[in-house]
């Protein structure tokens, strides 16, 4: 595979006295999809927040496309080419769907390209096109999730960070979404780091996977090798409390 677009080494992130991540290391080749798995509280969201610049690592290095980005503020990280679909979506509820998408393109100045990307996303997510003028807050949970992903793509990122994108999506929509992500990877060379509770879904399209537990990487390797492994099944059935699996769409 291509050389690493993102390499993380010795990453430590703390919330006060609590080390939510310790000694985390990752290598993500360009154009690959990495699934990060782990139980509740394992540190998955913390990892994404640190990569997106919202949390400042206490220790460790993060190199993205040859540049050190550890400790940079979020606006610099977006400009470097990393977009984040955060936990909780963080949409602008009173802005229209279209305005939310335009905000996604904040770092860009190419008006024509922005319109092209809007049209493309609205054909990939027809519901967003239909509801372009409605406030984002009026969309259903699943639609909001799609809007959050589409908004992140509007920045034309090289690396997309997604925190549990299938949460709140009906299984069929979740599969569709993952197919769309896979297509972006093949057509645009997008690199993806996706956190998922639904391990089977994520491992289905991921090339690589890593498992976090207690803020440490406890397993890492090609997705297919992890797919069959016993502990994945154990993790899914054992550590995944009811209610955090896919909620049906409202």
């Amino acid at each position: 595979m291509a050389e690493a677009i993102l390499s993380v080494a010795g990453l430590e992130v703390r919330y006060g006295a609590l080390a939510a991540l310790s000694a985390v290391g990752l290598e993500l080749p360009e154009g690959a999809i990495l699934a990060v798995l782990g139980a509740n509280g394992a540190g998955k969201t913390t990892l994404l927040r640190a990569l997106a610049g919202v949390l400042v690592p206490a220790r460790g290095t993060v190199v993205f496309r040859g540049r050190s980005i550890a400790g940079l503020p979020p606006e610099r990280i977006v400009r470097a080419g990393i977009s984040h679909v955060p936990e909780g979506r963080e949409l602008f509820p009173l802005l229209s769907v279209r305005e939310n998408l335009l905000m996604g393109a904040w770092i860009r100045r190419d008006a024509a390209g922005i319109e092209r990307d809007l049209a493309r996303l609205c054909s990939e997510f027809p519901v967003l096109g239909e509801r372009a003028r409605q406030p984002a807050g009026r969309l259903s949970g699943g639609e909001q999730q799609m809007l959050a992903i589409a908004r992140a793509l509007m920045a034309r990122p090289r690396l997309l960070l997604m925190d549990e994108p299938s949460l709140g999506l009906a299984p069929r929509l979740a599969r569709e979404l993952f197919r769309m992500i896979d297509r972006r990877r093949r057509e645009d060379g997008l690199t993806v780091l996706v956190v998922e509770q639904n391990a089977r879904l994520a491992l289905g399209i991921a090339d690589l996977a890593c498992v976090l537990a207690g803020g440490r990487v406890v397993a890492q390797g090609p997705a297919r090798s992890l797919l069959g492994e016993e502990f994945i099944r154990g993790f899914r059935l054992g550590d995944n409390p009811a209610g955090r699996t896919q909620a049906p769409e409202p």
Binding site: V54, E75, F92, L95, M103, W106
Partner: protein, 291 residues
């Protein structure tokens, strides 16, 4: 009847000034979650600047424009130098800081030899003129306030709904973290909001100057702008506008029909009524768009 319409017109004009000051307060509050108690003093500074510039020989309109631009720069500087360093401190500390800024502004103006002690008047090209429609009379000063406020509201609507920066301000006022994830630099956005708010304050000051004269205590108008903002729901720009105008009209009617002193109480009576009857403000159920 004519008398009443006349009263309402005068009230609307004064209310527009309350509304503009309230608008500045709400803008900053929505974008930065800071309640700026110095907004009235920013207005006072704008008025003094205009007076200074006209007495230096600048024509009214040029002095008006220059005062607005200078106050916008001062607003951005205030954010950069004073408020940004205290970002994230407890709310009451920041509120105290804005109160301090207001007091300092008054002290500063009072210390300028030519400025502090007296009241000043701002020369306008339309001084003494008035508009007539039948038996109704509207002084040009009042007409100027109403017309400028209307134009400014139109311009602000275009800005918030038709420009990149305006869209980002609305977005950040709904979700700061979300705006951060989009690559918006909140620090620079806050500077822009303070600049806009101070520019609006300067406009209010220049509009009010021919009506009440210019003096160091002008900024006390903030005491009317806060109730105006609260009446409008504290967080809604159209609400602040409507709140200011309602307040101006109620005050001018109270001043005419009720005994001495009622005028100054009227604002607070309206606030109490609104808070009791519609705790979220007049515009509580207004359309989802709030900016």
């Amino acid at each position: 009847m004519i008398e009443f319409v006349q009263l309402v017109l005068g009230g609307v004009a004064v209310g527009c000034v309350y509304a503009l000051v309230a608008l500045g307060i709400v803008l900053v509050y929505k974008a930065t979650e800071t309640v700026n108690f110095a907004q009235g003093e920013l207005m006072m500074l704008g008025a003094f600047l205009a007076v200074a510039l006209t007495s230096a020989g600048l024509p009214y309109w040029a002095a008006f424009a220059a005062a607005v631009v200078l106050m916008a720069l001062a607003g951005a500087a205030l954010e950069r130098v004073v408020l940004r360093p205290v970002l994230g401190r407890p709310q009451f500390a920041i509120v105290m800081l804005t109160l301090g800024i207001g007091l300092m502004a008054r002290g500063l103006v009072a210390a300028v030899p030519e400025w502090g002690a007296q009241t000043h008047s701002l020369e306008t090209p339309f001084a003494g003129a008035s508009l007539h429609a039948g038996e109704l009379t509207l002084s040009a000063d009042h007409a100027m306030v109403i017309a400028t406020t209307a134009v400014l509201c139109g311009a602000l609507t275009l800005f918030f709904h038709g420009t990149r920066l305006g869209l980002a301000m609305r977005a950040a006022s709904q979700n700061q973290l979300g705006a951060c994830y989009m690559g918006v630099s909140l620090a620079r956005l806050h500077s822009a909001v303070w600049a806009l708010s101070a520019a609006i304050a300067a406009i209010a000051g220049v509009l009010l100057a021919p009506i009440t004269f210019v003096h160091t205590n002008m900024g006390l108008i903030g005491l009317k702008a806060f109730p105006a903002a609260v009446i409008g729901g504290f967080g809604s720009l159209p609400g602040a506008l409507a709140g200011g105008i309602v307040l101006g009209v109620v005050e001018s009617a109270a001043g005419f029909y009720l005994p001495e002193g009622a005028k100054d109480v009227a604002a607070w009576v309206v606030v109490l009524l609104v808070l009791m009857l519609r705790p979220a403000g007049m515009f509580a159920d207004a359309a989802p768009r709030r900016v």
